[in-house]
C-alpha cells in the first residue's frame, strides 16, 4: 500500500502571535517552527504504525512551502517517512495548496492520503476535503481511529455528540485527530537515517488563488478578572446570574 502524508509547518504552540507590515503579515521573527501537531502525532504516526504492520507499505511525505519548511520535512523523515517532496511555493490559499498536492497525488497511485484535522495557524480544516474532491476519492474528516485490512479501511470519525464507524474501500483521504495514533519521539537511528532519505524539490504548477488574506487583527485585551472571595461563593453565583446572565 502507498501512503501519502501531508505535512505542514506550524508555529510552536507557545509562540507569541503578532503581525507586521501594517498587520498584513505574521511576524515570524523569533518563532520556532514545528510539524503541525495533527500531522505529526496522528497522520504521520498512523502511517508509521501501518508500515510496522506491513513492511511493504511505503510512506511518502509532501509539504507545500518555501525552503524554510526543510527542517520540518527532515524531522518528519526522521520520525519514519521513506521519501519526501517539497513543492516550492508559499501560499495562504487552501485551494492553491490542495491543488499542488493533488497534482503530485494524481500520478502517485496512493491508496491512502492522510492529513491533519487542521493547521494550528490558519485553522482551516479545508485541505483534506479539497484534496479528496480533486482526486475524486471518498473523504473521512476528523478521524479518531483508522485500521486497514486488505483494501478496506475501517475508520471512526467525530460526529455531533459521538462517533461514527464506517468501512470504505481504498483509495481514501482521511483527516486525522486525537485517537488515530499515539505521539512518538524520533530516535537517533531515525535522525541519522533521515539524512540519506530522498527529499525532492518540485516547482509548483500555476493555480489561481480563490481567496487572499487582507489583514490580521488581535483580539481586544480582556478586562481584568473580577475576583470573588473564597468565603463568599454565593456572590459568584449571583454575578453569573445577574451580571453576566450566564445561566
Amino acid at each position: 500500500m502507498k501512503i501519502l502524508v501531508c505535512i505542514s509547518k506550524a508555529p510552536d504552540t507557545t509562540a507569541k502571535i503578532s503581525f507586521k507590515d501594517s498587520n498584513r503579515k505574521f511576524e515570524e521573527a523569533g518563532v520556532q517552527w514545528i510539524i503541525n501537531p495533527y500531522d505529526e502525532w496522528y497522520a504521520l504516526v498512523k502511517a508509521i504504525e501501518l508500515k510496522e504492520q506491513d513492511a511493504n507499505n511505503t510512506i511518502h511525505l509532501i509539504t507545500v512551502g518555501g525552503v524554510d519548511c526543510e527542517p520540518i520535512i527532515r524531522k518528519a523523515l526522521a520520525l519514519g517517512g521513506d521519501e519526501a517532496i517539497r513543492i516550492n511555493v508559499d501560499s495562504d490559499d487552501s485551494y492553491c495548496i490542495a491543488a499542488q498536492i493533488a497534482e503530485v497525488a494524481k500520478n502517485g497511485n496512493y491508496d491512502l492520503v492522510l492529513t491533519g484535522k487542521e493547521t494550528i495557524d490558519y485553522n482551516s480544516s479545508s485541505i483534506g476535503g479539497m484534496l479528496s474532491e480533486l482526486l475524486d476519492m471518498p473523504y473521512i474528516s476528523l478521524a479518531t481511529r483508522l485500521e486497514i485490512e486488505g483494501n478496506t479501511a475501517k475508520v471512526s470519525r467525530e460526529i455531533d455528540g459521538g462517533e461514527e464507524t464506517a468501512e470504505v474501500t481504498l483509495p481514501l483521504v482521511v483527516s486525522c485527530q486525537k485517537g488515530v495514533a499515539e505521539q512518538r519521539i524520533p530516535n537517533m537511528r531515525g535522525i541519522m537515517a533521515a539524512r540519506t532519505k530522498p527529499l525532492k524539490v518540485s516547482e509548483p504548477i500555476t493555480i489561481n488563488a480563490l481567496t487572499s488574506i487582507v489583514s490580521f487583527d488581535l483580539p481586544p485585551a480582556k478586562a481584568n478578572v473580577k475576583l470573588v472571595a473564597a468565603d463568599n461563593v454565593a456572590e459568584l453565583a449571583r454575578l453569573l446570574h445577574e451580571e453576566a446572565k450566564a445561566f
Partner: protein, 321 residues
C-alpha cells in the same frame, strides 16, 4: 443571485448550529439586497414552512434518505448541483463536523473561494471580506473571497439565532443522489449528555482535581447548570475522563456562553481551545495561575470547598427564579 444556507441534521432533527447559520445567512442576504433560501438534505421531522420565521423565502429539499448519513463525496455533489440549479452565489455552512467534512469539498468542486471559522458578517464595502479566527482563537484574519461563488462556514456558537414570523415555501429539488462509498457500520452517541461543541455551558476540570474519583463535585455542578463536561489534556491522557472531553489546541475547540475551569492552570495550549467562550470563570487555589489573566470571574480557593458551595448557591437562585 441568492444566499443558500445548508441545513444539517442529526437523527432527523435540524441542529442548533443550522439555526445560527439561518440567522447569519439572512443577514448576509439583507446586506447584499438579495434573498436567502435553505437547503435541507435528507429527511427531517422539523416543520419546514416554519423555517420562514428566520427570514428565508424558500426551503429547498432533497428528500432522499441516503442523505441522512453524511458521506462527504455524495453531499458535496448534491450541494454543488443544488447551487447551480438555484442560482445561489453565496453558500453558508456551519463549521461543525458536517461542515468540516463537506464545505471545502464543495469549494473545490465549484472553484468557489471559502472562509471557514467565520466569526463576523462579511464586509462588502470593498469586495467580499470575511473575518475568521486563526491561531486557535488568538487572532483574526480578514480574508477576501475573490470568486463569483462564495462559501462561508461559520463558527458554531458565535452567532445568536433570531426570528420573527413568516412561512417559507417548500420545494423539492429533483437531484440524483450518488451511491455513498462510505458504509456506516456503527454510530455511538454519548446518550443523555450535552454534546460539547453545542453546549451553552461547559464545566471543565484539570489536574487540580487530583483523580477521577473526585469528579463527582464537578458533575454535580454541571448537572445543576445543564452543562456539558470537559477536561484538560493531561486529564484525558491519564484516562481520568474520556478522551473526547479534552479541550484545547490539540483537543476540541469550544465557544460556549459560559466556561467554568476548575483546577486548570491555563496553559496557552488549553486557552487556545476555550478562549472564544463568552464568559470564563476560573477556580484555582494558586493566585498566580495564568488562567486568571484570561478569566472574567474567578475565585482563588480550593476546588473541593468551592464547588459544592457554588452548586448549592446556583440551585438556590434557580429555585427562586
Amino acid at each position: 443571485m441568492s444566499v443558500l444556507i445548508i441545513i444539517d441534521q442529526t437523527d432527523n432533527q435540524i441542529k442548533k448550529s443550522s439555526f445560527e447559520a439561518l440567522t447569519y445567512g439572512v443577514s448576509v442576504a439583507n446586506q447584499l439586497g438579495t434573498n436567502a433560501d435553505a437547503l435541507v438534505l435528507g429527511t427531517v421531522n422539523d416543520n419546514l414552512p416554519e423555517l420562514g420565521k428566520y427570514g428565508i423565502k424558500k426551503v429547498y429539499t432533497i428528500s432522499n434518505t441516503k442523505l441522512n448519513v453524511v458521506d462527504a463525496q455524495v453531499y458535496a455533489a448534491a450541494i454543488a448541483t443544488a447551487t447551480n440549479e438555484t442560482g445561489a452565489n453565496v453558500l453558508i455552512f456551519s463549521h461543525n463536523q458536517t461542515g468540516k467534512a463537506v464545505a471545502a469539498r464543495v469549494s473545490a468542486k465549484l472553484q468557489a473561494g471559502i472562509v471557514t471559522g467565520a466569526c463576523a458578517l462579511p464586509d462588502t464595502t470593498n469586495g467580499f471580506v470575511v473575518k475568521k479566527t486563526v491561531f486557535s482563537g488568538k487572532a483574526f484574519a480578514n480574508v477576501s473571497i475573490n470568486t463569483p461563488i462564495k462559501i462561508i462556514a461559520i463558527n458554531p456558537n458565535s452567532f445568536y439565532t433570531s426570528f420573527t414570523d413568516g412561512t417559507a415555501e417548500v420545494s423539492e429539488l429533483n437531484i440524483t443522489v450518488g451511491l455513498p462509498k462510505v458504509r456506516v457500520i456503527d454510530v455511538n452517541k454519548i446518550s443523555g449528555e450535552v454534546p460539547l461543541t453545542e453546549a451553552d455551558i461547559v464545566v471543565s476540570g484539570g489536574r487540580g482535581l487530583k483523580g477521577p474519583e473526585n469528579w463527582g463535585i464537578l458533575l454535580d455542578l454541571a448537572k445543576e447548570l445543564g452543562a456539558a463536561t470537559a477536561c484538560s489534556r493531561p486529564v484525558g491522557d491519564a484516562h481520568w475522563r474520556p478522551h473526547h472531553e479534552h479541550v484545547g489546541q490539540t483537543g476540541v475547540q469550544i465557544a460556549p456562553n459560559l466556561y467554568i475551569a476548575i483546577g486548570i492552570s491555563g496553559a496557552i495550549q488549553h486557552l487556545a481551545g476555550v478562549n472564544r467562550s463568552k464568559v470564563i470563570v476560573v477556580i484555582n487555589k494558586d493566585p498566580e495561575a495564568p488562567f486568571f489573566k484570561a478569566a472574567d470571574y474567578g475565585i482563588v480557593g480550593d476546588a473541593f470547598e468551592v464547588l459544592p458551595q457554588l452548586t448549592e448557591a446556583i440551585k438556590k437562585i434557580k429555585a427562586s427564579a
